[in-house]
Subunit: 368 residues, 2 copies
């Protein structure tokens, strides 16, 4: 179990600030984890992430298992050494990627068989094997294999799938317990947008000895109202002594709702992916830097931002690099967007600490 | 004129160490200038170049004139502010790019008319106008417009072209002298691989009040022997009180020959371009990091290299990123190659200072 310290609890909502330590690194929540899909957060290296100040990042088991492969990671002594990142790491189970591979994967009671997107070769993930893979990767936090059904699946399928995820969770715990080492395991509960299923699934997962509880199966196509309703329902039911992780979410707007419901951890490709398409997060919402109005803007992308990019470069410069398809432009914008996310959550923590989270939320809901 | 201090002169060759100051930045030669084509050295930003320790970089007038355009650069107060680079800058005249545009440009006595590669629009460069453009760009060192004939052009064409370059040089000096500000102007001499033409051209250019003498029209397809022969011929004839710049060169191998002939400054896209194709410069020559033998190489790209990449990442990691087409891989390799060039020239300066340049040359010729 990961010991967590409650540093602040909002009196009018479930919003909270916690602190825990992994690999000697202090992590305060609410916290955002940048996604290092294939051993790098796209356009950045480990020195950049450390300069940006992220204490924890996410790696994708599915991609890393295929390339460079577990053998290479094992020879390096794990993903930390491979990437040179000295902070903490969480790996997903690969389930989300596999279940996105419509037509290239086959599910059964024991696991899932799938084809590599790289060379079409056949592979199989089972609850115990994904734990073994994540053990070799050396992540500080590992995730259980779950089935992640699409947002528009019928209730009967969501329920059946949820029960399979529960049986797999038990197998993951068994394999994990055999040799926990210094690693930790999070469980994932499912249930789609159905409150009774969510409640059942949360209870089942929470009864197992996980260090953290992850909310799976949100941000998969459901409406913002549905996501909000589920979070408001499960928030008060989540064990306050464990970490709460909302997988694959999201935007500053989503963070506000989730933090209010007691969520501690987030990850999402959003800030890095949209950066590569020229989109910047700013204090006034998203803007497209490719827009010609930025051609001559001498001021920064976001005049409220104290990141290295906004302190040193004009929006005009970033616009020019993006227009010219210079990868430096994508890199500068990736940096800014991650800094924006980091600052947003730092400000959220400070607001909670000051007993003003709802004011913070309302202030931002107005702006975004 | 740029005052230069002779710090060391090799007794057995023309190799020398000089120092000069531009924009408050001390520059020691022999020195390599990374090429920031469109306002960025590809995959890097200005903070990277400063961390790498380059005191001077090169910008391409042709590209910058077309995009972002002089108006945008002027609004920023010049290329330094636009890119955030606080070191010195040299801009080429755009001639080399225009004369590479076979079929898209038309030369006459007064200048050259060409089409933009971006939108096909028509533009014209004349000797005086390229000085005005470089004035707006704000480069610390500007270059004259020259015609750069192909390496395989007949002698008669080379001679005619050289004479045009001479007439243009006078016009560049006239326009420059009108308002030198804090900028400096280098002349370019031509003459292909013909020693008598080279001699005439050098004398003509050297008789004009340029701060530096650039050797143009080499590294345009002639053999290494021809380049070496020309350099050995012109080396002793170049004014030792001015800077000697070999344009568009090159590789460590080329540097050795050129330094021996008294060259001070170099620029080339080679280290950055080959990096994007997976090629690394090492103490044992060039290697292709995409080669499968690097898949499991736990040691650095170059075990002799003290750059940040070789100190922090395995060759296996860089191989993986390049294979996955992650731009981070191109960036790490660009960084390494530039660090290799920088260290190579630093070591050359030290060898000259220690009176051991020819030993240094022979040591490297054996390895490369």
């Amino acid at each position: 179990m990961i010991p967590i310290t409650l540093k602040a609890q909002d009196s009018k909502s479930l919003a909270r600030v916690t602190e825990f330590t992994l690999r000697g690194v202090k992590i305060e929540t609410p916290q955002f984890m940048p996604v290092g899909t294939r051993g790098a957060v796209k356009t950045l290296d480990s020195a950049d992430l450390q300069a940006l100040g992220f204490p924890i990042i996410l790696g994708n088991t599915y991609h890393l298992y295929l390339k460079p492969g577990i053998e290479v990671l094992r020879e390096h002594g794990g993903l930390h050494n491979f990437t040179g990142f000295s902070g903490a790491m969480l790996t997903d189970s690969g389930g989300f990627q596999i279940f996105s591979l419509e037509g290239m994967r086959k599910l059964d009671e024991q696991g899932v068989t799938f084809q590599s997107v790289y060379d079409g070769s056949k592979h199989r993930f089972e609850p115990a094997s994904v734990i073994q893979i994540q053990r070799a990767i050396g992540a500080d936090i590992m995730m259980c294999l779950d089935e992640c059904p699409p947002g528009d699946a019928p209730r009967s399928y969501i329920e059946k799938s949820m029960e399979l995820t529960h049986r797999w969770a038990i197998q993951c715990v068994e394999e994990f317990t055999r040799d926990p080492g210094r690693q930790h395991l999070f469980g994932i509960f499912q249930g789609g947008v159905h409150q009774d299923l969510r409640e059942r699934s949360l209870k089942f997962i929470q009864d197992l000895p996980f260090s953290g509880i992850a909310i799976g199966g949100l941000s998969v196509g459901e409406s913002r109202e549905d996501m909000s309703r589920v979070l408001q329902h499960v928030g008060p039911l989540m064990d306050p002594h464990r970490l709460h992780y909302l997988m694959g979410v999201g935007t500053p707007h989503d963070f506000l709702t989730a933090i209010e419901c007691g969520v501690d951890l987030f990850d999402c490709v959003m800030p890095t992916r949209v950066a590569r398409h020229g989109r910047a997060f700013t204090a006034n919402g998203q803007v497209n830097l490719l827009n010609s109005r930025f051609r001559t803007q001498l001021s920064a992308i976001d005049s409220h931002c104290d990141c290295r990019i906004c302190q040193n470069y004009s929006a005009s410069y970033v616009h020019h690099l993006l227009k010219m398809k210079e990868t430096t432009g994508q890199r500068l914008l990736t940096w800014h967007n991650l800094a924006f996310f980091k600052n947003f959550l730092k400000n959220a923590r400070e607001a909670i600490g000051a007993g003003q989270f709802l004011e913070f939320r309302d202030h931002w809901l107005e702006r975004l």
